[in-house]
């Protein structure tokens, strides 16, 4: 008589090592809070993308200003004499010529341009308007100078030679206001960096909390898998895959939304640079950095889930 089920029990029995499969034994996706976590990661990714773009924009702004003002200075002949009297046009023209002549003989000077009335009109236009009566306003004489180098000894000699013409002449190397501006931009960039770090820390905390609550909800099931001989990797992979999927969905949503917002800003502003502000940066490196955000978010999520679950499992016998 054939014993029922005999073949099944006499088959070769091989114990294998549990390996991860593309399936879940735990209903992680059905948990409450999954949508909340996805939305949170989307918001964090959006903020991170905006902070990154802001940081890149400040970066290119710094570079533009630094390179734009490097080896450049402005010589200003004040509209007033040292005794308080206003200079007349002839005096001003004569002084400008004398200074220009001095500059021509200075070896470190590459070029020198005396600003005419139209140039000065353009400079003051944003403050005084297009139709300002410049002839009634005492304006300084300005010479824009480009240098071959800013070697201190040569600079000192040039300053001394100019001061011989008139001791009241001002030589503005732009250094003072550029330094304070660069300091301010440095602070803003640091703030953007801190924001990105806070966003990353918040994301890690949120994911770790969510994973811990899921472990608590499914404690009995996780223990059962553990008792059946599931190794840590088998259990961890399920949580890791879950966190990674949510992070990918959330971060893609956040990053794409940020891209759409930035594109709209660029479209609305017409790509113009307003006064000192440069257009939103979109170099290849910056674009790749922002596009890599979802990958970074996935990495953070997967690693956070991994270490959180491993820590919980290590408490089991």
């Amino acid at each position: 008589m054939k014993i029922p089920f005999r073949d099944f029990f006499t088959k070769d029995r091989r114990l294998g090592v549990a390996i991860g499969r593309g399936r879940y034994d735990l209903p992680l996706n059905k948990d409450e809070g999954t949508n909340f976590l996805r939305l949170l990661i989307a918001l964090m990714s959006f903020l991170a993308a905006m902070a990154l773009v802001g940081s890149f924009t400040l970066d290119s702004m710094t570079q533009r200003w630094s390179s734009g003002l490097e080896n450049k200075l402005t010589i200003e002949i004040p509209a007033e004499k040292e005794n308080g009297d206003l200079r007349n046009k002839d005096d001003m023209a004569s002084l400008l010529k004398q200074v220009e002549a001095v500059l021509r003989n200075e070896p470190i000077v590459k070029s020198a341009d005396v600003l005419d009335d139209q140039d000065i009109q353009n400079l003051v236009e944003p403050w005084l308007g297009k139709d300002a009566p410049l002839q009634d306003i005492p304006l300084p004489g300005l010479i824009s100078v480009e240098l071959n180098s800013s070697e201190p000894a040569a600079m000192e000699k040039m300053t001394a030679d100019i001061k011989v013409v008139d001791s009241g002449i001002v030589i503005d190397t732009h250094e003072a206001w550029l330094q304070s501006l660069l300091k301010m931009i440095g602070s803003l960039r640091f703030a953007a960096f801190v924001v990105v770090i806070i966003i990353a820390a918040t994301t890690v905390t949120a994911i770790a909390g969510a994973i811990r609550s899921r472990i608590a909800v499914h404690k009995a099931d996780v223990e059962l898998l553990h008792l059946m001989g599931a190794n840590d990797e088998y259990i961890v992979r399920q949580f890791q895959r879950h966190a990674l999927t949510i992070a990918l969905q959330g971060s893609l949503l956040g990053t794409l939304t940020a891209a759409a917002v930035l594109f709209t800003i660029k479209l609305v502003s017409g790509g113009d640079t307003a006064l000192m502000l440069p257009a939103l940066s979109a170099s290849a490196v910056h674009t790749v950095a922002v596009a890599a955000l979802p990958l970074v978010a996935c990495g953070i999520a997967a690693l956070t889930a991994r270490f959180t679950v491993l820590r919980s499992l290590s408490l089991m016998p």
Binding site: F8, A18, K30, M228, S314
Partner: protein, 232 residues
């Protein structure tokens, strides 16, 4: 196979629920674990399926001292043990099929082999038509059969069952006991915690009796005969 020497277990700072437990289970042996309610049957089983570590004493399983093993080394040992829990502990969101398949998937067996074996076993325990049913839609007896199928699907070296026939009618109960007997003849060591005297009388295996936190081994005529015949 299993050796307990002066094993004690306490929960937290409470009194010992198991005290100076000494016994040896030979490979291929069959035992009933019995005792009054609260005597510590479930606690003793939890030590045997490596769900807990003893507070004191030495436990040796499959020739290895549990006290000296690292966590990672316990995983493969647990895969050699099948457990039928008193409360079944089926995963409520998985179908009967997936619940039974779980041990094989944990072992990393090929999916085709898993499908064939699980299908065959579910048919055999009379649940062929309930493969896709969720545990909550099954009766207590059906859930118990799923739990038993899950415990035996990996052909364990050691099968531990906590009141496995408690929710079953006599006919199914005896049928499942025959399955355990069959597994035992294939070399699986079996320990069944039960209060059911009819089953203990009918199958006549040795009894591990828990009393006052300690354990007493009571051989029966049938178990002595098996020992003499060298079955184990």
């Amino acid at each position: 196979m299993i050796k307990f020497e002066f094993v004690g277990l306490r929960y937290g700072v409470g009194p010992e629920v198991l005290s100076d437990i000494n016994f040896t289970l030979e490979p291929g042996s069959f035992h009933f674990l019995t005792g009054a309610s609260g005597a510590g049957k479930t606690s003793l089983l939890s030590l045997m399926y490596l769900g807990r570590k003893p507070t004191r004493g030495l436990v040796s399983m499959f020739g290895q001292s549990i006290n000296k093993l690292e966590r990672k080394q316990l995983w493969s040992l647990r895969q050699r043990i099948g457990v039928v829990f008193q409360d079944f502990r089926l995963l409520p969101h998985l179908s009967a099929f997936d619940n039974v398949a779980l041990p094989l998937r944990i072992m990393g067996r090929p999916e085709k082999e898993t499908r064939n074996n699980v299908g065959e076993l579910l048919e055999w325990v009379g649940l062929g038509d309930y493969k896709n049913a969720l545990p909550l839609t099954l009766s207590g007896g059906q859930q118990q059969r799923v739990a038993i199928a899950r415990a035996v699907i990996g052909r364990p070296k050691l099968l531990l069952a906590d009141e496995p026939t408690g929710n079953l009618d006599d006919e199914i109960g005896f049928r499942l006991m025959n399955l355990f007997e069959q597994l035992n003849r294939m070399g699986t060591t079996i320990v069944i915690a039960t209060h059911n005297h009819a089953i203990m009388e009918k199958f006549g295996h040795s009894r591990l009796i828990l009393e006052m936190g300690g354990l007493r081994v009571e051989e029966t005529r049938s178990s002595l005969r098996r020992k003499i015949e060298g079955v184990y």
